[in-house]
Symmetry: C3
Subunit: 312 residues, 3 copies
């Protein structure tokens, strides 16, 4: 059973970000995800490619969907999964990221999945452990599996990743999701737009080959894909934000504003949603427009693909 499918190799031994991936790497990951997506609809969802392997989910920030998605992916692949909740760990006793990684690395894991608040945590950890590392969201750098599952979701709606107009909208300053999606779509020769209020202007804007807009309706005009971002309240401290109602009026996606995009435009959101802040309540649940739940479902398949490819 485990030989039903060939697991491809990619150019990288770690998954730090989309930036380092070749187009061919991305295609291999998305192709393989198809197999797991159909597996996940069967009664028996186990496909024990990673039987006997140890995968550590090392999460320094709270998370439901990403952690659980990785945990389910690894378990369905038959791996032994260890969740390290850093809030009740030795870090309390003052141990550094370096020493935590060294300790975990010494236990011979086959892969470490990392979420952390700083921009190069996954690279730091990869220099210490002797196994592949997957970045599951770090600082405001990248969140590559999110971009891969977004791309997979787009393809599943019969859209090629090439030549799309993609509007990424909202808190561009703090969004690792935006950055990973940018790198992926830019590699694929799609046009990326950053649409944000001035107070969310990304400080590293010069690095991106994007059109920018400060008005949502203009920013999504004629777009194939409208990606709404979460307002990362937990990362904002000093900002004087408008009220959520004002934000919604200006930058919340509504049916009305969406008319400006292509008629078959897809609405994505990485979740969790702030309803009636980033997106109109009903629109978030409208399966003719929004693919938010598909993103979550595809996330498990895409992560099974990534885990299978990285652990070989």
């Amino acid at each position: 059973m485990v030989n039903e499918i060939d697991i491809p190799k990619i150019s990288q031994s770690h998954l730090f970000g989309i930036k380092n991936l070749e187009i061919d790497d991305i295609k291999k990951i998305l192709d393989l995800a198809n197999f797991f997506k159909s597996k996940n609809k069967e009664k028996n969802k186990n496909y024990p490619l990673l039987k006997g392997r140890t995968i550590i989910n090392l999460f320094f920030e709270p998370s439901t969907r990403t952690l659980i998605s990785f945990e389910i992916a690894a378990k369905r692949l038959g791996a032994d999964v260890i969740n390290v909740n850093i809030e009740r760990s030795s870090l309390r006793k003052g141990e550094s990221l370096h020493d935590t990684a060294q300790t975990l690395g010494a236990m011979n894991p086959d892969l470490v999945v990392v979420r952390h608040g700083t921009n190069d945590a996954s690279k730091q950890i990869a220099q210490i452990v002797k196994c592949p590392v997957i970045n599951a969201g770090e600082g405001i750098n990248e969140h590559p599996t999110q971009a891969l599952l977004d791309a997979y979701t787009i393809i599943n709606h019969n859209k090629k990743l090439e030549d799309l107009i993609v509007a990424i909208c909202g808190d561009l300053e703090h969004s690792r999701v935006a950055r990973s999606n940018y790198y992926l779509l830019d590699k694929m020769k799609s046009k990326v737009r950053f649409v944000y209020p001035e107070y969310f202007k990304p400080k590293d804007l010069h690095k991106y080959n994007v059109e920018t807009f400060n008005n949502l309706k203009d920013g999504i005009a004629n777009a194939d894909i409208v990606m709404m971002l979460r307002i990362q309240n937990e990362r904002i401290s000093e900002l004087n934000l408008p009220s959520t109602q004002d934000y919604f009026n200006q930058f919340g996606l509504t049916y009305e504003k969406l008319k400006s995009a292509k008629s078959d435009a897809l609405v994505l959101h990485p979740g969790p949603i702030n309803r009636n802040v980033e997106i109109e309540d009903r629109l978030a649940d409208d399966i003719d427009k929004s693919v938010i739940n598909e993103q979550v479902e595809n996330g498990v398949a895409v992560r099974m693909s990534c885990l299978s490819i990285m652990v070989q």
Copy 2:
């Protein structure tokens, strides 16, 4: 090995409460539990009926015994088990019950076990996820697996569930355990008594076909079964309760008061016990009277039975 035993079907696709079960459903669940109880005494406790299935324990309230009981039950059945500790989850970031359920549901679980503080959480969640839901205690509504394991424990002591006199005693107002036990025993044509101090009078008393008592000794007179309830301190806010010593004097079960029940009466308690508040210390540990530990042991077997039946 997995075919040693037939798994029956019941009338319900979710286990929201005892209220909706047919007598025959209850009997099937309790019958099958026998098989798992003996399995659980073997060295190899695995019976991988649910191999490749994903079970999510979604607990919004703290719990040791119920969560661990479900976790052990699911693992012994070979399922992949995901515990969602909502305290470190995205709910912190403001996500609603609805969106949490939608996210988890999108990951293709085969069953979701729910504990929540509101009375219809499991039904709400079942409307969102596309798999069976088991209520593991919600609000002051029901806690069906507790009533099933209590019934199983009673049967194991050679008592038929029919024609018993069962006194349920203590904090009737806040007890979902009491309600589930009431529905089960009433269906079985046993006589249920609610025994409580006035300040614990259930607001929905009119719904139940019970005799009521405000005095413990009178309430348990001639009873076959004495079910003591936990005082749900964590749910009480505005009440002016007596001291625990006063409560014990009036409503705590002692050897002395127990003389009023049948001589072979069984003492049950869903745990965790407040010793010398709800029940005399020594009596709680007296295995000639109290079956509290058996309840815990039977809980795993009964939950294995419920999981096997619901996930098909």
Copy 3:
């Protein structure tokens, strides 16, 4: 595959401490660890001796390395593993250690691993549950698997456990690691020294057959093994400690001070390290001197050995 190796029996049915072990028991545990250490370097690290067995990790104190080490060990042996995080458990609702143990014991575990702040917690629990108990660190009593993995690490560097000079240095008063190592090395006829500042003088010093020193350089003179202890800040309350800089100057291990030991002396530390407090930063990472990471790696193998032997 499961019959590749014979699992020996030892004289004890619980692993409360090194004190109760026979020399032969220790040798059997360390011998078997060799097998698992090499297994842990393979791709497939599963060796399902404990398939179908239920192991509960009952941790009342926070821990990363010990908990994860036991969790990985048990999972690689194929057991169903339940982590009980007591901070979100029923103890919140006022349940005692006794009742927690009784509840967990009723679920038919095959082994319980206990970490607790009091000196006889594992024995207390063993009186209640009907399965083997392993002490994973309790109070200031013992932490036997740490001493076993330390001994294993020493042997792996071609040193026999006999006739060594071993200096155990730092917070002797609060260290269960020191006590377990003392019992092991004393049994093996090695010479143990306790090296500590006056304010860390162990109150039970009279029980140990040791030389004592209040000066680090003197204490480690000509030593084969230098074991640095963690300062258990979390256990210290009333002490007026010097600054960490003063502590480091006096009792921190540096290259300079280490010259006083044998030229091939091994430096051990149970972790997590307080860098530049107990040990010089660079020295901790110097793999020609320090074996701290090997200790962690060996910990998994030694615990797999202990679990295999205790669960039979």
